[in-house]
Amino acid sequence: MNAKGEGAPKAFPKGLKMKSRYVTSMIAFLILLPSLGAQTAQQRESGRSIHRDGWDRIVPDAPKAQNSATAPVRDLTGIWEPTPGYRDGVQATGARNYPSDGKPEHELPFTPLGLETWKSHKPGWGVTAVPIADNNDPFDICDPIGFPRIELFNLRAIQIWQNKNQLQIVYQNSQVWRNIWADGRELPKEILEPRWYGYSVGKWLDDYTFVVQTTGLDERTWIDNAGRPHSDQLMVQETFHRVNQDILELTLTINDPKMYTKPWKALDKFTLRLQPEWFDIREQVCSASEAADYNKTVAAEAAAEKKK
C-alpha cells in the first residue's frame, strides 16, 4: 500500500455515495419492517380483545387454514400458547375435561378417602364453591400452585427449552419452571423430599410424541381450581404430541389410587400454538403482599356484613 492509498477501497464519487446510503437505508428499513410493525401497533380498542405479549406487541391471530409445515423431529422448543384463544387454558371450574359442574359425565371416580378429602377443600369455583372469605385454597395465599395444577388452572403461555438430557418448561403463570429429565434415568424409587412440582422423567415415544411421568408431588397442592385432591401416590402422565410445525397437543392423565378408583384424563389433546420468536411472556406472579391486599380490601369486604 502506498501513500495514495492504493490497495485501499476507492472512495465513491459523491452522487454514487448518496445513492449507496439510500440503498443501505432502504435495505435496513425492509429488514426491520416486520419488527417495526409489531413494535408500533399500539392501538387499543375497548370491548374487544387485541392479544398482546409482555412488551405490548400485538400477537397475530391464529390462521384459519391449518396447512402448517411438518414438525421438526424430536423438538418441542418454542413459545406456546393455548389456541384458538389465549384464555382457553383458564379452566376456572376445574380440569378442562372434568369441570366441577354437577354433570354426571364429569363426576370423578373418587375413592371414599378422595371424596372426603375433596369435601375438606373449600374452593372458590365448582359445585363445592364457598364464599371468598371461607376459601382454603392454598393458591389464595400464594402457596406455589404446583403441578399438575399449573397446567389445569390458568395455563397461559409456556416456553419449552430442551437439550439431549432434559426438557424445561417455563410457565407464564407464577413464572415457574419444571425440568423433565430425558437422559434415561428412572423416577426416584423413594421420595425423600416431596416437591411442589415433583420429579419428572420423559422419553420420546416416536419422533413427534414425548411422554412424561411425574411423581413425588407435595400433598398440600390441589389438582385443579375446583379443589380436587391428590395423595403422595399421585402419578401424572403428560403426552406432548407435536401435530405439525404450529400445533402441540397435550394430554394429561391423573393416576392416584388412594384418591381415585381409576385413572382419568384431565386434558385430552388440549391444543397449544407456536408463537412468534419475538413473543415475550408477560409476568403473572402471585405476590404475597398483593394477594394480602386483595384479600383484605376486596375479599374480606365483600364477605363482611355492611356496617349500618
Partner: protein, 129 residues
C-alpha cells in the same frame, strides 16, 4: 374535592344476562349476586395487581354522603388485551362505573364490566369477563 364528586346516577337491580361465564381467577362467584349497578364517582386509587385489579372511587349516596366504592376487575394479564392498563386511571378522574355482580353482604363493592372516562372513552371487556 367534594364538589367534583358525582352523584349516584343509577342504581337499579337489573338481572343481567351473562353471555359468557365470568372467569375471575380462583376466588369464584359465591360472594356476589347478579345485579347491575352504575355509579358516577371520582377515582381514589387504581390497584393493578394479581390476582385481581380493583378500582377505588368515591361517590355520593342518596343522602349526599360521600361513600367509598370498590370495583373489582380481572387480572392484569387479561385486561391488558382489552386496552386496559396500569395507567388507565389516575386519582381524581371522574368516572362512570358499571358493575355486574354486587357483594351479597351489601358492601359497596361489585365486579366491573365497564368504565366511562370523562372524555367519553369506554373501557370494557365486551361480553367477556
Amino acid at each position: 374535592m367534594k364538589s367534583r364528586i358525582g352523584v349516584l346516577v343509577f342504581a337499579s337491580s337489573v338481572i343481567f344476562l351473562r353471555l359468557i361465564p365470568p372467569t375471575f381467577a380462583h376466588h369464584g362467584n359465591a360472594t356476589y349476586d347478579n345485579k347491575t349497578v352504575t355509579i358516577k364517582g371520582v377515582v381514589t386509587e387504581w390497584r393493578w395487581t394479581n390476582p385481581h385489579s380493583f378500582l377505588k372511587f368515591d361517590a355520593k349516596d342518596e343522602k349526599g354522603n360521600v361513600v367509598q366504592w370498590i370495583g373489582e376487575w380481572n387480572n392484569p394479564s387479561t385486561l391488558i388485551n382489552f386496552g386496559i392498563t396500569a395507567k388507565s386511571f389516575k386519582v381524581g378522574d371522574e368516572v362512570t362505573v358499571t358493575m355486574n355482580g354486587m357483594a351479597k353482604s351489601g358492601a359497596n363493592l361489585g365486579r366491573v364490566v365497564k368504565v366511562v372516562l370523562p372524555d367519553g372513552q369506554e373501557l370494557s371487556m365486551g361480553n367477556e369477563r
